[in-house]
Symmetry: D2
Subunit: 365 residues, 4 copies
């Protein structure tokens, strides 16, 4: 479905960058999930622009939960999150409404919506719409955590600067939770930030790779064909603007491996089956095997740049040039990681609910 | 849905490797699509094991279309494809039913189905289930071709041997259609085949990367959030066994690019908007921009190998060792390409039907 | 899906009777549909409590469209309607939170949501949630009307008082549009109103039957099996609180007819196929035949009554008695008709969009 | 979806009346459900033509389960049922291919499928397609019965002859299971049969009303809005050819009741909440309340009659007359009851699986 995703738990997104409000409806939640407004605010803060390396647009995100919560717990009926838009400056967009920004969806939106689309700030295509998605992710992540499922994402690389990989998964995930700039090796933050600022100084932008890890998923969740865990996670992750690739476990590295090293041997550990390696990223035949789920997502460089670019005026049908004005992110990799965490929480919460029933993520009274 | 995929056009898969029959139901087809049994047979032949580099299992695939076709045309009601299973040898599987084959779904199936799963030949998890999917793909590809949409996939790399990239898309796609072993540079077939045979001689297996291209898709198809073209293609492609990664356009290469080179500048060409480069693989903001769609899929080395591997007996809950017997593929990359073509045809046919209505792919009487 | 309905056009409902806001997200709309706030206000006014025959709760419904509309036209991306709750008095509900109101969903909600449900005013089960549904219906009805599809519903009977049936469909539908109390025979309003007031005087409530008619639907829309027009309309209509039956065309009257009178003979009229009678209500084999769609819906008497009723306290698990206090409707039949019109518009707009593509209901620029 | 219904458990139908085979794919079944071929054969026998009151077409229905069953139990992966078509005589259909049979879907099929539809025996519109649906129903009914959920349907009225109502639900349901002609009052069979034969003698046909009852459904299943139990049951039931109305509990009788008698008072019984009456048919606010589910379905007279009827040739666009030849049912009410039982089993099995998880209906090993 166009702006609704999920089977037993569903998320519906709405809103435009410069409209009155953006929001999301989260349906199918178990009754009795505790809602922490602090946790939602924390997640939103991780998505928010961060100083010089981000856009100067202020996104305070004073969210409101207008339904589905009663006395601090989910009711089991749809939870609607609203976030009003503030500090939107639409002039620069309207001036250039018919100039297709390269790498953006202006032209494709125009082909699809015939000019009725809202051109201000990318309209419904804006990354801003991920704010309510992240608020929903905060709720789902908390509920999953109470069932032992923990999700963490770090910036594996940014503009060619590499972070170290996951080592102790539990403590790495715990540490990431507190970090505004999600690197495991604290030394790398400075290098990555410098790369962002260098691109910004050139009126340019950079991309990178996010690496995600989930611990605590039980074995036996997911489906062999169209609802494989990889299918559902990739479907959801590619909904995030600027994502252009995803790989699970060794991913593209499998292309040069042989089966004898690619396969993960099984062994018994304390009466429980596990694998000695985890090249398959916790998924065999589309179904969780109880090992950590691992995947990597590439985020392309922010399309909006201040350098002059060749383009077209798609109404006049003629060539043109364009250079961005206004406030823009020279990099969104660091902001995207909590979006990946959130959409991952949605997919896994939905899968667990389908598997174990609609009460699974709730508490008992 | 578990074994059904699509919105306006849907495909439902059923069957097990050693059951009586496997098959698929293709629903939502426009009425009046011409059915060519030769085309279906041709697609199935491209998926079939090929001599020494494949399993010795004979898969003749004498398919039957038992519904949805009348006088050589689709009726518009569900088309069911049946393929009987032949030459199945189940003994070796039953002997070792509780030994989890590393890299396979035996253990995860057991966790999900509690031992009721069919263990023979991987049961419903078998790559054999892709045969009816490919038959469906043949029908959809033909229908798309009549509307100017052509799909082609080549083996971009196999065991570290690289094919050349796409150059003249139209003629490359046309050439691939006839090739059993889908390389653009004919010289590479020998090298790749040698690498497969070398692995086979070691009782081992190899993987690779498939690169796909679609020309002729109109601009303005797909959705910005959950039904982005990338979301739907990746969802479908990850349903194919052994796929562990996908990337669109420059994919993971975007991680080290800057926006100024990653963006595709627009220009006018004969009154039509196009891009000068196509790093984004024909998709902006989840929606087609009229340029060729490009993506790459990694296929892991076949998990079944003849070397001894460490594993567990998941019923006795003890460590064990396992070495495959019987007939197995040392590589499935070359067989998988027509599966990727087929699932791509399904996604695009569905998107076009949603966009332009349920008659779009049919003919008029 | 729980609170989302539709395939190509979807509606998602959220909110509780005494929460901050109620609302709906309408997705999949064609771009370029004109939005008339007057029309929305008009539809909402038809649903609003009407004087002595309704609840004294004031429902002004100052709606807000916070997304999906730009310069007075739909953008093609999700349209969110918000209606703040006002004049809610929750005290009487909280006092009696664990007393199951007979005929209501208090007990079933408690069984499903384990006591986490919002008990105030019926929470998410309240008929109040139909207000945003009606706002959505106004938008869809207008769009349908521009394509020649017109929908009208009258009160066929109320507390045993019968209205006349449809005669001239076009003018009857046009007349109904303006009526607060939707009877075709103006004389019946007084009788029906008297019956409502008589029940009210007794602390009791009454029900009735709504009859709906749709003209202008093209032939060939709908599906033979699970998406038959009857299946989809009934699915949607039974979502409306208090609906307990639906029949198409002659409906239950078919039980005593013979085929020779039940069948609708076909004839040519001005080169177009039509039927001489319309006992089948415009639908054959689940698909529209181009004749008017006719169906009747029964609305049970409002469950809330002021007379003492036997019940249980479902927390203490003991018998109890209950008599309503506060403001309640002695009848909702007259208010429900615009809800039926609205949900009918949703189903038909969705079916037409699936059939003819996502631009069908929009305008061209 | 067109020919697929359900959320966690789905049924996909395919086939045409005179094609090679008809069938169904039942997906999402719990692993470990026992399959009784006798039970399936029994259900199919209840649907089969019965002597002089039915068509003379022989329907032996030698079904085959080609997937999803291993060693007599469901595997948890899709179960495909195939039934070959035998004794099909297509000549009379082809002769009159373009004459729209009144009350049938010939004309609407032609409008939708533009003449590509299979005209033989109604093609995919034929009631014959309910045979695999009934086979699926047998499997689901057995599984439900092991969880205490029992379903029964009797012929409440046929051609104006009324059966007695349900009295002792448990024993009535048990008795119905064995009856070919499902009346509770054995005396009525003769009267109803006589009415069918009288219509047959006139070259005409008759209809009737089926009344269904479900005992043992736990409280708290279903959803308040779009997945109300009434919504889902009606959606499914209206998929059955010839159904034109459905009512739950008192249904259309509510129109003349007052709230004080329509409401079902609650009381405690052995520590469990129940209602004193069951006018609401076991459903409040769309959710089961633990009382028996009760609904009534009207089946219109079979459209095929031997009397001459006025119609059109929809290819030549001219008026015509038509009288059926061949073998046809003068009544299908008695054959439809097991179809209603089956589709009810599908809806309830799906709802229970969504509520309690995908293992709910299975057995443990």
């Amino acid at each position: 479905m166009k702006n609704t995703f999920g089977t037993s738990i569903t998320l519906t997104l709405f809103g435009e960058s410069h409209g009155a409000m953006i929001g999301a409806v989260l349906d199918g939640l178990a009754p009795g999930i505790s809602i922490s407004e602090e946790e939602i605010a924390h997640f939103l803060s991780l998505r928010r622009p961060q100083g010089a390396i981000s856009t100067a647009r202020s996104e305070k995100d004073p969210f409101q939960l207008v339904s589905g919560v009663y006395r601090g717990k989910t009711t089991g009926t749809p939870l609607c999150i609203l976030i009003p838009n503030e500090d939107a400056r639409s002039e620069s967009y309207l001036e250039k409404a018919a100039l297709a920004r390269p790498g953006h969806a202006d032209f494709t939106a125009h082909e699809k919506y015939h000019g009725f689309e809202d051109p201000r700030g990318g309209g419904h295509f804006s990354g801003r719409i991920t704010a309510p998605l992240v608020a929903a992710g905060a709720i789902l992540s908390s509920a999953l955590q109470k069932k032992g499922v923990r999700i963490g994402t770090h910036i594996a690389s940014l503009a060619g600067v590499n972070d170290r990989g996951f080592e102790n998964l539990e403590s790495d995930i715990a540490a990431l939770r507190q970090k505004e700039f999600a690197v495991l090796d604290a030394e790398k933050e400075k290098e990555m930030t410098a790369a962002i600022l260098a691109a910004k100084a050139d009126g340019d932008s950079v991309g990178g790779v996010l690496e995600s890890c989930v611990v605590g998923m039980p074995a036996g969740v997911g489906e062999v064909w169209f609802d494989s865990v990889e299918s559902l996670l990739s479907h959801a992750v590619f909904s995030i603007p600027a994502v252009k690739g995803i790989e699970f476990g060794k991913g593209f590295g499998f292309a040069v491996m042989r089966g004898s090293s690619a396969n993960d041997p099984f062994c018994m550990e304390n009466g429980r089956v596990r694998t000695l390696t985890n090249h398959n990223g916790g998924i065999n035949g589309g179904i969780t095997n109880g090992m950590p789920i691992l995947f990597r997502t590439v985020i392309k460089p922010t399309p909006t740049i201040f350098r002059e670019q060749q383009t077209v005026d798609y109404e006049k049908k003629e060539n043109a040039t364009l250079a961005a004005k206004g406030r823009h992110d020279p990099c969104i990799v660091h902001r995207a990681r909590v979006v990946v965490d959130s959409i991952t929480a949605l997919v896994l919460a939905d899968l667990l609910t389908q598997r174990f029933g609609t009460d699974f993520l709730g508490e008992t009274k």
